[in-house]
């Protein structure tokens, strides 16, 4: 097939998608505070998520100080230790990762990459952010109420979480649940936007199969989130009922402190089913955008089309669908009927197949590429390593019998931090290094970026990899101290101290990153409109950073898929999506055949 022959598609008039009327900013306040522009909302989401994420980072350091040097710091007692553990987990999973991938990158990239002027419902989008902010504030408030924030673990298992014997069982858990309900309400408003924008506001020529994988990832994650978050919502409301109205949805008959509680007959397992019905898709709600983004980073910086684009799309779709029938693999030792183990172990291991395909395609994209080791690319490669590691240890935990000895030990802690914390956060960093020039018009400092990458990668690997092995040895998690536990010997304590030191170093490197973000905003090297030579639409905007309405007078028209890197014979090693076939410059004036 010769590219130049397609005159029918070579030039297409714009504006098949109707121009949308945008709410225009009239003042500084409506431009930067009550903004309905997805780009501003994205930055608001990102800044808020980062801020609350830093709180969770500090909490993790407090946890590490206690574990590394028990009996040294009087500001951490058993109750506050549990509170730190719980809040650290909840903040990182929901308020940082979910918010930054969907609210942050979703808002910034969906309209730009789809060639839309803005989201479908800008007002709802704005509301979504402000409700998210309110959720964060309610969450923060729970630190300061009587009894402090909840210490029941981020999984909020009843009866534990609302009975005395657990710190924060009073006001703390109420605020936590209210905050979650708010987050879900806010997220739903945002999620409607992401889905409808991708479905209906794509610009002319932007077919489904011409969407960058970033958009596919965010899109599938949003679909899953809209279906899965209601489970957490129902569970949270029912738990609130149990706590405040004395119902017995989840609360069984129990004896606390020599007296019987008012509850009767409730089922704690019911909560676990609801929680994990949300909780497992939640893993992929964080992972799928990361998969998508990393695909684009690897393709762009390897200067080579992503390998097996179609398989990548269907793998995302398959993972999204399958992730709704694997939830009980978090509950193998929960006391549910053991025969469920057969079903859930099988589905869980099946989901490894599409995930493995994604990994193969990433590394096959590197193969015969022309790899630029830029900072975003380094982070993408770091993701490959840590995700592979965490994914493989998932094969242990998903395989029901292997999970029995390993569950609730440090093996689990190592596994989910590797796969759910380190891997996605490396993608977040890579994505920020990649798109920062578009958002601000300036490059992030390269030297600081390199230091940040090396310390983060090696540091986090040193933190989490050894954890698997002490888990294997039986060291249980969520322990304030291991003093009298017979099988926890001194070597574990030495390791814990070493891990703590590594954690402090990694945390300091994150401050360097924050400094880089601020410093480069004012002093960074000026970036052109397309510093990486990328093909996707967001790099083709008339202004950098993109202005209100993104595209100036006319919407772009898309003529090709987003991975036209190294097109044979083309003069440049990339052809942007909005370049018509007859406008591609070829070397020596010759037009060469493209593989069919």
């Amino acid at each position: 097939m010769v590219a130049g022959q397609h005159d029918a598609v070579s030039r297409v008039p714009p504006a098949e998608v109707g121009e949308m009327e945008l709410p225009h900013a009239h003042s500084w306040v409506t431009r930067y505070i009550w903004s309905q522009d997805a780009k501003t909302i994205a930055v608001q989401y990102a800044i808020t998520a980062t801020a609350i994420g830093l709180v969770a980072l500090v909490l993790s350091l407090l946890i590490r100080l206690q574990l590394g040097f028990p009996g040294t710091f009087s500001l951490i007692d058993p109750a506050s230790y549990l509170q730190h553990v719980s809040m650290h987990g909840m903040i990182m999973v929901i308020y940082l990762l979910t918010a930054i991938f969907l609210g942050g990158f979703g808002n910034y990239l969906i309209p730009l990459m789809c060639g839309a002027r803005d989201m479908a419902f800008p007002f709802l989008n704005m509301l979504s952010y402000w409700i998210y902010l309110l959720a964060v504030l309610v969450l923060v408030a729970s630190f300061f109420v009587d009894g402090g924030s909840t210490g029941g673990g981020w999984t909020l298992y009843p009866p534990q979480v609302i009975t005395e014997g657990t710190p924060g069982a009073g006001a703390g858990i109420v605020l936590m649940l209210v905050s979650l309900a708010l987050f879900i309400a806010g997220f739903t408003m945002g999620g409607l936007n992401y889905i409808v924008t991708v479905l209906q506001l794509r610009t002319r020529g932007m077919t489904l199969m011409r969407l960058p994988l970033t958009i596919w990832g965010i899109f599938m994650a949003t679909v899953m989130a809209l279906l899965a978050f209601p489970a957490l919502f129902v569970a949270a409301i029912m738990l609130l009922f149990d706590h405040l109205l004395g119902t017995s949805f989840f609360m069984p008959t129990m004896m606390m402190v020599s007296e019987q509680r008012g509850h009767e007959g409730g089922s704690p397992l019911l909560f676990q089913h609801l929680f994990w019905f949300f909780g497992h898709p939640e893993v992929y709600i964080v992972a799928l955008p990361a998969f998508g983004i990393v695909s684009d980073l690897i393709s762009c910086h390897s200067r080579r089309p992503i390998f097996g684009y179609r398989m990548m799309v269907w793998a995302l779709v398959a993972i999204g669908g399958l992730s709704f029938i694997v939830w009980a693999h978090h509950m193998y030792v929960s006391g549910m009927h053991p025969n469920f183990g057969f079903f859930f172990a099988t589905t869980t291991l099946i989901i490894a197949v599409p995930t493995a395909i994604k990994v193969y395609n990433w590394i096959l994209t590197l193969w015969r590429g022309n790899i630029r080791l830029t900072v975003p690319m380094l982070f993408a490669l770091g993701f490959l390593l840590t995700f592979l590691n965490g994914g493989l240890s998932g094969l242990f935990l998903g395989n029901v019998t292997v999970d029995v000895p390993l569950s609730d030990t440090y093996f689990v802690v190592g596994h989910f931090h590797m796969v759910m914390a380190v891997a996605p956060i490396l993608v977040v960093f890579g994505a920020i290094y990649h798109w920062y020039p578009k958002v601000t018009g300036r490059m992030l400092n390269d030297t600081l970026g390199h230091i940040h990458f090396w310390v983060t990668l090696i540091g986090t690997y040193a933190i989490y990899y050894p954890m698997h092995f002490i888990g294997l040895a039986g060291v249980p998690r969520r322990y304030f101290a291991y003093g009298e536990t017979a099988f926890v010997d001194d070597s574990v304590m030495t390791l814990n101290a070493a891990i703590t030191i590594a954690a402090i170093i990694v945390a300091v490197a994150q401050l360097l990153f924050i400094f880089n973000l601020v410093w480069s905003y004012f002093r960074g090297e000026k970036a052109g409109p397309n510093p990486w030579g990328a093909t996707t639409l967001e790099w083709q905007t008339p202004e950098t950073p993109p202005g209100h309405g993104n595209w100036g007078r006319e919407l772009p028209v898309v003529y090709r898929w987003p991975y036209d890197y190294a097109v044979p014979g083309a003069k440049h090693d990339f052809v942007p999506q909005n370049v018509p076939a007859d406008a591609v410059e070829f070397e020596h004036g010759s037009q060469q055949a493209r593989p069919a």
Partner: protein, 466 residues
């Protein structure tokens, strides 16, 4: 380039770490060798995949590093390659899943000849129950739980009468005989984990969960709680003694039956009065204690606590440490008492008027209040103590005595003996009091508690009615 080298080093380092690290599965002590085999298979398969994929990545990075005279290849997909990769992956996954599912099938099938033990978790300790002569366990319900019936056995169920009750975190199992563990919880969710047995499951309130295994090695094993259950989670342990069948039978025979526990007479204060005469020389006529003799006040302490401590002194579980000089004195006295005498003395002490001890230390009570937050989970927010948490009353105790005990706990002088099951927990808990100042502060806060407040816990009232 550096990244390729680091990737290779990390991958190889990970493999080397597996072989060189001191942390492996603890030696197997049950029949679940199949689990270990599955883990080993998983390590081999995933290890090979890990090294292969990372190695390939590193090689690709080196071989295809950027060169602006070169172009990447443009081949968007390769159906054949993708098919084979998918196929091989599926085979690999099946190879992992198959042994897992086969082992699971035997895991969920309890052998017919398994004997049963009921394991009951509560904040923050374990209790056990063995079926009696009839081989059946009686019905239980939380509403029956009380001092004389710690596991809540239904008194009207004849099958429950001969159940053997172990009201302390210690269990015996006969070696080489399959056992089905029936787990429940009185309050929140716990999990009975002995790493060497491999098998475990959560203990839930309101329902029974189960797992089985066959202990294959005699010896003492420690169980920890593996499901977050609150502040004392990290200090919730039990001992499992795996012994030959005869030894097990002998031990079980010594454990009280439910019927026996019910019939147990409460202590006789009148008899206790006579017995107390010896104690009075140090602890005072009215049990008020004597700082000069290093003898603490005894009023206000519940009978279950007094009896337990006397038994500990007698067996050497307390006071056996050479550094615990005053405790050592008690071992001599306690040695002369039998169980009935202990209960009589405890009953007599309940009749003495409760009085607050003199304040002798001063510290930062405000800081103490913050520190006491942890203590309050067991000892009650006003120091009244809680029977269900095995926590004695603190209000009204001599502050110098509390300080000495906290120091002893922190340094392991008290509570480290394996038979001092609850003292053990205090060794762990006291670690958060990082220095002497913290101990003084918390004790000076405890000094504020009123003795009256202690009675509100209902602990003593109930005791006197027994």
């Amino acid at each position: 380039m550096a990244i390729a080298i680091v990737l290779i080093l990390l991958a190889l380092g990970s493999v080397v770490f597996y072989f060189l690290s001191p942390w492996h599965l603890p030696p197997l002590a049950s029949n679940w060798g199949a689990i270990d085999t599955t883990i080993l298979i998983s390590f081999i398969v995933t290890g090979v995949v890990f090294v292969a994929v990372v190695g390939f990545t590193a090689y690709a990075i080196i071989r295809y590093r950027y060169d602006d005279r070169r172009r990447a290849s443009y081949d968007p997909e390769n159906k054949k390659l993708e098919f084979w990769l998918t196929f091989v992956t599926t085979i690999g996954i099946a190879a992992l899943l198959a042994p897992g599912l086969i082992t699971w099938a035997s895991f969920v099938t309890v052998p017919g000849d398994a004997h049963r033990v009921a394991v009951v978790g509560s904040q923050w300790h374990w209790q056990f129950r063995y079926p009696g002569e009839d081989g059946r366990l009686g019905r239980v319900h939380p509403k029956f739980v009380g001092r004389g019936n710690p596991l809540g056995i239904d008194p009207s169920d004849p099958h429950g009468q001969d159940d053997r009750i172990v009201d302390r975190p210690e269990m015996y199992l006969p070696v080489d005989r399959p056992v089905e563990m029936l787990l429940t919880s009185r309050d929140v969710i716990h999990n009975f984990m002995v790493p060497s047995f491999r098998a475990k499951v959560d203990a839930l309130p309101g329902q029974m969960s189960r797992f089985w295994f066959t202990p294959t090695r005699t010896g003492t094993f420690q169980s920890t709680c593996a499901e977050h259950c609150g502040v004392g989670h990290f200090a919730m342990r039990a001992q499992v003694e795996v012994v030959p069948q005869e030894e097990f039978d002998a031990w079980l025979g010594e454990q009280p039956t439910f019927a026996h526990m019910q019939a147990l007479e409460s202590g006789d204060p009148a008899a206790g009065r006579g017995r107390y005469a010896v104690c009075a020389s140090c602890h005072g006529q009215n049990g008020e204690g004597n700082a000069d003799m290093n003898a603490p006040s005894l009023t206000g302490l519940s009978p279950w606590y007094l009896v337990r401590q006397l038994e500990n002194f007698k067996s050497g579980a307390r006071g056996g440490n050479p550094e615990d000089t005053f405790g050592a004195q008690m071992t001599a006295f306690a040695g002369t008492l039998d169980e009935k005498a202990m209960r009589d003395i405890a009953a007599y002490l309940q009749t003495l008027p409760e009085q607050a001890a003199e304040t002798t230390v001063s510290g930062d009570a405000a800081r103490g209040q913050r520190l006491y937050r942890t203590c309050a989970f067991c000892h009650g927010s006003n120091g009244g103590g809680q029977w269900s948490a095995n926590a004695p009353q603190l209000a009204g105790m001599n502050d110098w005595y509390l300080i000495r005990q906290l120091e002893h706990f922190r340094e392991g002088i008290r509570g480290r003996h394996p038979q001092d099951m609850y003292g053990n927990q205090m060794v762990d808990m006291s670690q958060f009091l990082v220095d002497e100042e913290a101990i003084r502060d918390v004790v000076s806060y405890i000094n504020i508690f009123e003795v009256r407040a202690a009675e509100q816990s209902g602990d003593r009232v109930a005791t006197l009615q027994e």
